[in-house]
């Protein structure tokens, strides 16, 4: 609803500032924020008085400030307390509660915290033992630890549980005004009498389902009625009001679903606004993440233009000063108010999602942050915004939400007798504001933002607030810390910001600069309107069908007749994307010859020259995104976001392997031509990843793309050639696996195969290579039966969001995709309905539409297989839930994403490569068996754990056989160089793609192994630990005692167990080497994880052939 030319130009300016460099945004704000010397001095004197008042009052305050001072974030106890508070009350079963309490309380040094804080509340919270009767006096520290320890020892868990539970509820009470709006209104009475007013906030997570949204809507309606009944005609400024979170009102409150937001969410918020207007109370639209700002502004602008609301002065919006666009948002709100001749209530906050914004921008690889990286810059922005608000009294009723004494004083000084109010959070900062609202103080009104809701749902929210405000650098923390001099507390932020020149925080690298040895790939910001329009334009134009042919080294061009194949859009079979000439057997033979001859020049090139070439290729791939994106969308049915993910991954592969080659392969010798056989599910990323690895290690690549996706691969080859890879070093051989792939792999001149695809094909490749005596390389990446285990301490909303993304993103066509969700039975009735509700919200359709969540599956064959699988479950009586298909799905090969509820993980025996999620419930005491059953599938690619209990996480992570284990997040989207990716067992051979070992396998004489385990650098808010362990049971078949001993010792030293043929000397060896070594009649049955063998090459080859024949 951007209407007037003024507003349009303001909005344009806002968009340019979205991720502008920090210095540039801050510079004009400095002058606007600055107070001249005399008022500054007055403000500082006032701030000092306020701060001293807080310090004087602190022993009776006992709020979050005291708590956070005692349990600072950098202490183990502080973190443990927060974790406990966040999770405990939602856990329904006693066993998990006890586990959680033990996990969090047993290890901390709690004694050290007792009696140190003057606040009784802090001590009570530390121990959570008030009800046990052992801690009535907070100074009785001697007995406490002993009491807790002995209770735990004697198995007095119910008592402890009850005590901690009560402490958590006390903690909740401290910061939650009431469990119901009625209770909250009752509790508000006392403070109202002191000069406070309230804005109530009905808390909870964002809605994931329509049911959730309707429930929140009903709760808001009820609350508005209740507040209205008690408002007694006070008016919107003096009376209490309500704050509304838009993401609670609709399950898809995101930019990509703008149409639904406007059609479905708007009527809901309008209804609430009309209700608030009729009750005569204020209603405020809360701020959320930065990528929702324009959406919120658009909804708000529509509300502001409603004639039925024209006479109502209570319409409010929140502006987050930490956003770089904040100052311009004020301009838009002023223009909006004036355009409609009304006055808006505007709450200015600093912003509550700062760390989330930083992490997201890093994960998404965006150019810069939407927020300032330094608090002092946010303070400056705040003062500038406030000044602009005060300058437009006709348009804005300013509501300054801050806990910072200097900010309060500066605003008080700046505002004079203007009409405005302060705001603070319930449970936080009242000790400042008691001085502000008092008639003998500043006599300025303050509105308390007061959360309302059950403690179970509130604590998660609360922990966020505690963390933000309790951080060492936060004002709330510093004001009660006697070590911080008052003068420091009241320092002028403008002067401090000028001193740093507005530069970003040195410890927060810009997203492109996350890695020391290479540039991070650039992400696509699909919340930026310019980017969205460009993407829409790219998707709207199809262009004539592409024509691609095999690309051989010039000397080997083959004149033979080639078969043609049409490539059609899987979302729309009428859309002919291109035609490919498939390579012939003759092409393959000539290509291999050229790779051996002319290709040798590439192998002779210095490592640095190869690396530079790959660096240019990375740049070229990123620059070609406008071509590659629509191509992948049409050829592979990818969503734009997924397609761009591939562009990023392809560029990352090139840069990572280039850096790896420089550091590990300086003196290494390439192996020779490698066949690179790529899958259709990552037609760009994996195709380029294989080729880039081969090339970085100095090996000519013979690239065979998947039959279904030769066009994207051809575009990638053109870019690599353009970057300087010689034609003989990279040849392109499109065609079926049965002919082109088979011919390539059977050619004895190739030095190895890099393969990603099915386990069956990998077995066939193994059989083909087995007879060779020169031990060719086979790196196979195959499928998985990937599971995610969620216990009852996990947050259901996180579990559902992560399971949905893991199972259905890319229509489940990722090797890493989640196939089995295992939910502890105690929470299944909460998690599963939410999951089904979230499934119902998916848009399944043509990915040429940006609002599509799930696109087609690759072809009719895949479609039939997946449908049969789901039908089979239905026939067996399993409960099956499916998402709806959009009408356009009839034109392509779509499958409705499905959730299948099953009884036993053992019933899932093979991978079904599509959007099908099996869900199983497990008993709390059967976790170990569950992991065993998952291991028994033989696959081992990805695995997820959602739990708040470190002990459970460690147990599962150490027991589960999976190459990539993910904790409290989704299980897809491994990042090159950060999360080396690949599985074991039936899931692949290793080494991991995008990891430190990959290139070492492709050359001889590489640098020694890097130290393990390693923490790999990546985005903030995530740790990535890469480690090595044994493969399992290694059969040693060395001839002679010395050879056998050497093999066994080597295998053992790398963490394996060893099995030897049963001979007397093997027995002696076993006795000597210990229990991890054993003998067996047939060491090859059951099949070991690896075999060490020596002797003549015929012996080795014969063994390989036998084992490959399996």
């Amino acid at each position: 609803m951007v209407e007037s030319p003024t507003i349009i130009s303001i909005r344009d300016r806002m968009r340019r500032q979205y991720r502008s460099p920090e210095e540039a945004v801050l510079d004009p704000l400095l002058d606007e924020a600055a107070l001249s010397p005399a008022p500054l001095a007055r403000a500082q004197a006032l701030a000092a008085r306020l701060a001293e008042g807080v310090r004087a009052a602190r022993h009776k305050a006992g709020g979050v400030d005291a708590l956070m001072l005692e349990f600072s974030l950098d202490s183990r106890e502080g973190i443990a307390l927060m974790c406990l508070a966040e999770a405990l009350l939602r856990v329904p079963d006693a066993a998990t509660r006890d586990r959680l309490i033990r996990d969090k309380l047993a290890r901390g040094n709690w004694r050290a915290h007792v009696g140190r804080s003057p606040s009784l509340f802090v001590n009570a919270a530390a121990w959570g033992l008030l009800v046990t009767g052992r801690l009535v006096d907070s100074r009785s520290e001697g007995t406490l630890e002993a009491a807790l320890a002995s209770l735990l020892r004697k198995g007095g868990e119910p008592l402890i549980r009850k005590g901690v539970d009560l402490a958590m509820r006390m903690l909740g009470q401290q910061f939650v005004l009431g469990r119901t709006i009625e209770e909250a209104l009752d509790h508000a009475r006392e403070r109202r009498a002191c000069g406070y007013r309230f804005s109530f906030d009905m808390l909870g997570e964002a809605a994931l389902t329509e049911d959730d949204a309707q429930r929140y809507l009903a709760a808001y309606e009820h609350a508005i009625h209740a507040i209205g009944r008690r408002a007694a005609g006070h008016g919107v400024t003096v009376g209490d009001g309500i704050s509304v979170k838009l993401s609670a009102l609709h399950p898809r409150y995101i930019r990509a679903q703008r149409e639904r937001v406007m059609d479905e969410l708007y009527p809901r918020v309008l209804r609430l606004a009309e209700l608030a207007a009729s009750c005569g109370i204020g209603l405020n639209i809360d701020a959320e993440e930065a990528d929702r700002l324009e959406l919120s502004l658009d909804l708000f602008a529509r509300l502001a233009s409603e004639r039925r609301l024209a006479a109502w002065p209570g319409l409010g919006f929140v502006v987050q000063a930490y956003q770089k666009r904040a100052r311009t948002v004020i301009d838009e709100l002023v223009a909006l108010a004036r355009a409609h001749g009304r006055r808006l209530m505007v709450r200015l906050v600093k912003g509550a999602y700062w760390d989330t914004e930083i992490k997201r921008a890093q994960v998404d690889g965006l150019a810069d942050y939407p927020v300032f990286t330094r608090k002092v810059h946010t303070d400056v922005s705040y003062l500038a915004c406030a000044r602009a608000m005060l300058a437009a009294p006709d348009a804005i009723y300013p509501q300054f939400a801050t806990h910072n004494a200097f900010t309060i004083a500066a605003l008080h000084t700046r505002a004079g007798d203007a009409d405005y109010e302060f705001q603070c959070l319930h449970g936080m900062g009242e000790s400042v504001y008691d001085q502000v609202v008092a008639s003998d103080g500043l006599a300025r009104p303050c509105r308390i933002y007061a959360p309302v809701g059950s403690h179970e749902t509130l604590l998660a929210y609360l922990v966020r607030r505690l963390l933000e405000n309790g951080a060492n650098s936060s004002f709330v923390n510093r004001i009660v810390d006697p070590a911080v001099p008052i003068a420091e507390l009241v320092a002028d932020p403008v002067a401090r910001a000028r001193a740093t020149g507005g530069t970003p925080h040195p410890r927060i690298a810009l997203p492109p600069n996350l890695y020391a040895d290479r540039r991070n790939s650039a992400g696509l910001d699909l919340s930026d309107e310019g980017t969205i329009r460009a993407a829409e334009a790219l998707l709207a134009t199809a262009g004539p069908p592409l024509v691609v042919v095999p690309l051989l080294a010039p000397a080997s061009a083959s004149p033979g007749a080639r078969r043609q194949r049409e490539i059609r859009n899987p979302a729309d079979r009428d859309d002919l994307v291109g035609v490919v000439d498939e390579a012939t057997g003759d092409d393959v033979t000539r290509a291999v010859a050229a790779a051996c001859d002319e290709g040798a020049a590439w192998s002779a090139l210095a490592v640095d020259a190869r690396a530079r070439c790959l660096g240019r290729a990375a740049d070229a791939i990123e620059a070609a995104a406008p071509v590659l994106l629509p191509l992948m969308v049409r050829e592979a049915g990818k969503s734009v976001a997924n397609a761009h993910g591939e562009v990023r991954e392809a560029a990352d592969f090139c840069r990572y392997y280039a850096a790896q080659a420089r550091s590990a392969l300086a003196a290494a010798i390439p192996r020779g031509p490698l066949a690179c056989i790529a899958p259709w599910n990552f037609p760009l990323a994996i195709f380029v990843g294989q080729v880039a690895a081969a090339l970085a290690a100095g090996n000519p690549a013979l690239a065979k793309p998947a039959e279904q996706t030769p066009l994207t691969a051809a575009a990638a080859v053109a870019l690599l050639h353009g970057a300087g890879v010689p034609p003989a070093a990279l040849q392109y051989l499109p065609g079926p696996g049965e002919t082109v792939g088979a011919a390539l792999v059977a050619d004895p001149r190739i030095a190895g195969v890099l393969f990603t695809g099915s386990t069956e094909v990998a077995r066939m490749l193994d059989r083909t290579l087995a007879p060779r005596t020169d031990d060719p390389v086979l790196v196979a990446e195959t499928g998985g039966l990937n599971a995610l285990i969620a216990d009852s301490s996990a947050l259901p909303e996180q579990v559902v969001a992560d399971a949905m993304a893991s199972a259905f993103d890319s229509a489940g066509q990722r090797c890493s995709a989640l196939r089995i969700l295992c939910v502890q039975e105690d929470v299944a009735e909460r998690v599963l309905p939410m999951l089904r509700g979230a499934l119902a919200q998916l848009r399944v359709g043509d990915p040429r539409r940006l609002d599509t969540d799930v696109g087609p599956v690759i072809d009719a064959h895949a479609q039939a297989r997946i449908r049969d699988h789901v039908a089979g479950w239905r026939e067996r009586g399993a409960a099956v839930h499916e998402a709806a298909l959009a009408p356009e799905c009839a034109r392509g090969t779509f499958v409705a994403p499905a959730i299948v509820e099953i009884d036993d993980v053992r019933a899932v025996t093979h991978e079904v490569f599509g959007p099908v999620l099996h869900v199983v419930r497990y008993r709390e005491d059967a976790l170990h068996d569950l992991v065993e059953a998952l291991n028994a599938t033989g696959y081992g690619l990805t695995h997820g754990i959602h739990s708040r209990i470190d002990e459970t996480i460690q147990h599962v992570a150490s027991q589960v056989r999976a190459g990539n284990v993910y904790v409290n997040r989704n299980v897809i989207g491994a990042v090159v160089g950060v999360q080396p990716f690949g599985g074991e067992g039936l899931s692949g051979t290793g080494p991991k793609a995008g990891g430190p070992l990959y290139l070492r396998r492709l050359a001889r004489g590489a640098e020694a192994l890097p130290d393990v385990p390693q923490c790999l650098a990546g985005p903030t808010g995530e740790t990535n630990v890469w480690s090595l362990h044994g493969r399992g049971r290694v059969a040693c078949l060395g001839e002679g005692e010395a050879a056998l001993r050497h093999q066994a010792e080597l295998a053992l030293s790398l963490g394996n167990t060893v099995v030897l043929p049963d001979t007397p000397h093997a027995r002696r060896l076993c006795d000597e080497l210990g229990s991890r070594c054993s003998v067996a009649e047939d060491p090859l049955a059951p099949p070991p994880a690896a075999v060490l063998v020596d002797g003549p090459s015929q012996r080795v080859t014969a063994l390989r052939e036998t084992l490959a024949a399996g």
Binding site: W354, I358, K375, R948, Y966, R969
Partner: protein, 44 residues
């Protein structure tokens, strides 16, 4: 299943090990402690 024979340099130890990547979201409980506890005052 790899059948590993010695080359001129002996056995390749890389083929006897499996790699594991453990990725932990440290912000699941609601905040990024390492970011939030960054000290503010460092100059550029």
């Amino acid at each position: 299943m790899p059948v590993i024979a010695p080359s001129a340099d002996g056995y390749d130890p890389l083929r006897l090990v499996a790699e594991r990547t453990l990725t932990t979201n440290t912000t699941a409980s609601g905040g990024n402690a390492s970011l939030l506890s960054l000290e503010e005052s460092e100059p550029a």
